[in-house]
Symmetry: C2
Subunit: 141 residues, 2 copies
DNA sequence: TCGCTTTTGACAATCATTATCAATAGCCGT
DNA sequence: ACGGCTATTGATAATGATTGTCAAAAGCGA
């Protein structure tokens, strides 16, 4: 049976109050900062439960950490993430959803889950990056 | 300066001869199996170099490991991967390519890279899984 | 309220990956 | 072809995130 503990509530709430993605460790830090003496392992477990229950979305940062985000809507959507500043834009992808389902079905696959995320440089970072590249275009020794 | 070592060649070749994705560790094992006394750290480095040079693609499995695949063709395609037996089916996704590009552009993003992979259970594993689930469908206590 | 069961939490274990650093081997200029 | 400088290698330790362990504490039903 699933019991109702303040710890789980705390994690859920902390996640709700977070915009963008947080790592389990980050969320743990946040919770500690707000005074909760919650344990790290518990945060991991709560996060995993939340994700399993569909109340949270999880993805992996390019660095390999698992990031979580509150799933405010039932709508399944994906993200466009700036690899430099972390800006996250929610994108709808009905076309992709359908495509993924079809592709899986056509190949006899079931329980299809898809990883669809677009990483890039947002407008601001594109400019910054271009500017940073200017000063030292000479790799000569 | 970039030197040319047999180790790097070995990694590149091993990757070329591998269909689907391999983890760095897996590739290391494969290399050892073929007799190369190459070191694990070196495999990681070579793989990272290859990826940085655009000669290899990398993605992360749902379990958090980094998987690599040879970028043998200019054709950009994606994969449908069986999460149970590892069967990999190459899939074309022109529609997705276009979609990803558009979405990125619409949000001012540049250098868009997308991670589009579908994980699921292949037909065979679906059957096996269903069979395994049969014996105990009653969760009652 | 009582008792059983789940959950917690501190810590150890695990796993992939990266850093370290001395020894080796490539490459360049002579 | 040779010497020397320096990138690369590789064994191992370090790191860092995540998961397992297990006794103690708390929640929920009776």
């Amino acid at each position: 049976m699933k019991r109702n503990t303040w710890q789980r509530e705390a994690v859920r709430e902390a996640l709700d109050h977070t915009e963008g993605f947080v790592s389990a460790q980050g969320l743990h830090s946040t919770l500690h900062a707000t005074g909760s003496p919650i344990g790290l392992a518990t945060v991991y477990r709560a996060l995993a439960d939340l994700a399993a229950a569909g109340d949270a979305d999880s993805l992996q940062s390019p660095e390999g950490e698992s990031l979580y985000r509150a799933c405010s809507t039932n709508d399944h959507h994906h993200h466009l993430i700036c690899r430099n500043c972390g800006l996250t834009v929610e994108i709808e992808a009905d076309a992709v959803e359908t495509w993924a389902k079809n592709v899986a079905a056509q190949n006899g696959f079931t329980q299809a889950a898809h990883v669809v995320d677009v990483f890039g440089l947002c407008a601001a970072c594109t400019l910054a990056s271009a500017a940073a590249a200017e000063p030292a275009p000479t790799p000569a020794s």
